[in-house]
């Protein structure tokens, strides 16, 4: 009886951490039976390079998901930024000009995405949809002009972005920095308040548009960071780079337990847990002998289970 109560009360936590822990246990215990192991340097490096881009993006996305917003331009942004960094890398022999240009573009997009919803009175997803289409179009035109479907860095050394330890270090730093701003400064607190109840936030003197833009700017910086690693893994970019990332981010955040409606329940750790779980499935399932083309179905089932455990809304009625 007691333990039942415990399970009931902590259902959400069990759902969130339980998914990750279960994956870890299964992928630790079962693969050795088939003469495989997750805990080898090479597998862990693969895991790191699988998770890095998604984790970097998801952690930044916490800021805008906490507003109750969803961004679907992120995949195309990663594609364009990777292309810019490679192209400018080849013409200038340095990654820096490309990075700076990407930051400028990302900031402009952040300002527009952050303010359009309230200024034009449209659902915030609309402006990100427009950017998705515009950037997709730009990418398509660019690659047609170039007469190729992908471009690679020729002279610049990008090996650092392939180093799993460096990936790990950047991930930890981003987690700490975003975690700090989200939990211990007014930027995160305001974002959560706006997501929870915009009217209240306004009456508490919060400049809604300003802090929405700031939230998108945090996200923008992480998109550029993630683009570097996306580009750096192979030193190249193509017209399909970043495709579907917006959905991966959404899946990772939901898997991690992030409420789509935003608000006070939003946490940065959810992004980390979600993207780790997601990548563990990518790496772990083939170790169990699951065909790569079946991985999607299994991920879908696991996703459904976690969502049923964590995301269902249930309002208890409490004493008055």
């Amino acid at each position: 009886m007691k333990s039942n109560e415990m399970i009931k009360q902590n259902k959400q936590k069990i759902g969130i951490y339980g998914g990750l822990v279960t994956c870890l246990i299964i992928f630790t215990v079962l693969p050795p039976l088939r003469g495989q192991s997750l805990w080898t340097v090479s597998k862990l490096s693969t895991l790191m390079s699988d998770v890095i881009v998604l984790a970097l993006l998801s952690i930044g996305a916490v800021f805008i998901y906490s507003l109750g917003n969803i961004d679907i331009s992120v995949g195309k942004q990663v594609g364009i930024y990777s292309t810019i960094i490679v192209a400018l890398g080849n013409t200038t022999d340095s990654l820096l000009p490309g990075i700076l240009l990407c930051i400028v573009i990302a900031l402009v997009i952040a300002v527009i995405n952050g303010s359009a919803g309230d200024l034009l009175n449209i659902h915030p997803i609309i402006s990100s949809l427009v950017f998705m289409m515009v950037l997709g179009g730009v990418s398509s035109i660019t690659y047609t002009q170039l007469g190729t479907r992908n471009i690679s860095l020729r002279t610049v050394d990008y090996s650092i972005f392939k180093n799993p330890l460096f990936m790990f270090l950047v991930l930890v730093i981003e987690f700490i920095v975003i975690g700090y701003f989200f939990n211990y400064t007014k930027f995160g607190k305001y974002a959560k308040a706006i997501g929870a109840n915009q009217q209240v936030a306004k009456q508490c003197g919060i400049h809604i548009i300003k802090y929405k833009i700031i939230s998108y700017i945090f996200f923008a910086i992480t998109i550029v960071t993630a683009s570097l690693f996306q580009m750096g893994y192979t030193g190249s970019a193509s017209d399909s780079t970043g495709t579907g990332f917006e959905m991966n981010v959404m899946v990772a955040l939901i898997l991690g337990g992030m409420p789509l409606s935003g608000g006070m329940k939003s946490k940065v750790i959810y992004a980390l847990i979600g993207s780790l779980t997601y990548s563990l499935l990518n790496i772990g399932l083939p170790l169990l002998g699951v065909e790569p083309n079946q991985v999607f179905i299994i991920k879908a089932i696991i996703f459904l289970i976690v969502v049923l455990l964590t995301s269902r809304k249930k309002y208890g009625v409490l004493p008055r």
Binding site: T185, K189, Q203, C204, L318, P319, R320
Partner: protein, 501 residues
């Protein structure tokens, strides 16, 4: 009233984690009676009836309805079987028509081959509305076009459309105007005459005494006592009920007792010939240490004055000044020490899905940060201080506001501005849905604020509290000032009402 018991509970219990809301409650409701349930916020009066009407499940104990064990799984099931409840909060389905709201869940009665005959439904809904003398609501219109109050009336009609054996009215009258109340009271009477039962949950002592045949008083999840018709009719009943509710003599001191209307010379807040929407050319001077009350019917424009003074409404003309600063936005207002308590507590004043701490600290974050860092310890000590000074009933500052009772919620929205140290407080319906104990504490707080030299603009639909607290009382009618009264022991509600209607 017959002696037949239609509904009873046996050792009904309800816990929310460690919080006990009901302890072994045994209550009987008889056929044809109007039973009042009174008690402070959090005493469990709504909890009993919300369990009876299927909104939530009890933790322990049994219920019997019409001599059978009663265990409704949902409010819809309970309503079908005969227990309908009208809630304190808005409980309508937005964006659809009034008729669709009234007949929600009963569409089959109006449909053929899966297609709803909208005309037939609207006609039936209109007929139903008219039968309760509600003439101003058109059932075919989208419900969003109607106010909160009309929404309540629509809910009442919906509840009645199922012919309930027991109708539970939970704190509904606070949202209703005089006209709406009349409709509700008439309906309650008619029900009792037809041997149906009504449970009336209310903070309004006068209403309870006037309307009920029997009273049950609760405190801290326990039944303290019952009063029958004879006892209710006695002269000192109000005092007795208060004593039972609070568990101690709360004394007669309720409102201010002084008639000293002096205040400082300095003007804290001034509205200069303001025009916004229906408000035209409105002026007001609020001094430090002064309480100005604004009264009127809820559509008189008095609520807009509060919003204008706080920078929430765009001005077409005139200005709002605090000292030398012009108030144009809420942020201006807050930075100049103005706090605003909205009458829409749950939608505009509080983040319900957030902790007490989050709510109290939100306007303060700006002043709390040190090189961007906001110390969690500071937030905690700040909110704990306010929880203590307001004696907010909760387990910790981490507790979510939507788990608090109405009065405690209101305390949190007061605490926000005292924590911020605001010098000018605009309060719109500050004691709406709040029980006597909390009301008394709030009146004392407001009086203390005045002594400290704070300026208070108090907008309220309750004349007695306006008379009891204000130095100057502005009565509004049709968006204009119809009369200004000065504080006086001779001022009576009856003198004022003629300027309101």
């Amino acid at each position: 009233m017959s002696e037949k018991v239609i509904f009873r509970t046996e050792e009904l219990c309800k816990n929310y984690g460690p919080t006990i809301a009901l302890k072994n409650v045994d209550i009987e409701i008889r056929q044809g009676e109007i039973r009042g349930l009174v008690g402070e916020n959090g005493s469990g009066k709504s909890t009993i009836m919300s369990i009876a009407s299927g909104m939530q499940k009890q933790s322990n104990g049994r219920m019997y309805f019409k001599d059978k064990e009663w265990n409704p799984d949902s409010m819809i099931e309970a309503a079908k079987e005969g227990i309908a409840m009208i809630l304190q909060e808005a409980n309508i389905i937005p964006h659809v028509s009034v008729a669709e709201n009234i007949f929600a869940g009963r569409e089959k009665e109006f449909s053929k081959f899966g297609i709803i005959n909208v005309k037939k439904m609207n006609k039936a809904a209109n007929a139903l509305l008219r039968s309760y003398q509600i003439d101003h609501i058109d059932a075919s219109v989208n419900i969003d076009r109607y106010s909160f109050e009309d929404g309540k009336l629509i809910e009442i009609v919906r509840a009645m459309s199922e012919n309930p054996e027991i109708l539970v009215v939970d704190e509904t009258t606070t949202a209703l105007s005089l006209e709406g109340r009349k409709i509700l009271y008439r309906l309650i009477r008619e029900m009792a005459n037809c041997q149906k039962s009504v449970v009336l949950i209310s903070h309004d002592m006068e209403e309870i005494i006037e309307q009920c045949d029997a009273l049950t008083v609760l405190r801290d999840g326990d039944i303290i006592g019952h009063l029958d018709q004879k006892e209710i009719a006695s002269v000192s009943v109000e005092k007795k009920i208060r004593y039972m509710m609070v568990g101690r003599e709360i004394g007669d001191k309720y409102y201010r007792e002084d008639y000293d209307v002096s205040h400082q010379e300095e003007v804290a807040l001034e509205l200069k010939n303001v025009s916004s929407g229906s408000i035209k050319d409105f002026s007001l001077k609020l001094h430090k240490g002064q309480i100005i009350g604004i009264g009127g019917l809820s559509g008189s424009g008095m609520h807009q004055i509060g919003r204008i003074a706080y920078g929430l409404e765009p001005l077409e003309h005139g200005s709002v000044q605090s000292g030398a600063v012009e108030i144009k936005t809420c942020l201006n207002a807050i930075e100049n020490g103005i706090g605003y308590i909205s009458k829409n507590r749950d939608t505009e004043a509080l983040i319900l899905e957030g902790s007490i701490k989050d709510n109290i600290c939100l306007p303060l974050l700006n002043s709390m940060e040190e090189a961007t860092f906001i110390s969690p310890r500071k937030e905690k000590s700040m909110s704990n201080r306010e929880i203590e000074s307001f004696s907010i009933k909760c387990n910790s500052s981490q507790q979510w506001v939507n788990t608090l009772s109405g009065g405690n919620k209101q305390k949190v929205s007061f605490a926000k501005w005292t924590a911020k140290g605001s010098d000018i407080i605009i309060m719109d319906s500050p004691t709406r849905g709040v029980d006597i104990g909390v009301k008394q504490a709030m009146y004392q707080l407001i009086e203390k604020m005045k002594e400290e030299g704070k300026a208070i603009l108090m907008i309220s639909e309750e004349l007695s509290e306006l008379i009891g607290m204000s130095d100057e009382l502005i009565i509004m009618k049709k968006f204009k000032v119809s009369k200004v009264f000065q504080r006086s022991p001779d001022l009576k509600e009856t003198d004022i009402i003629e300027y309101m209607i």
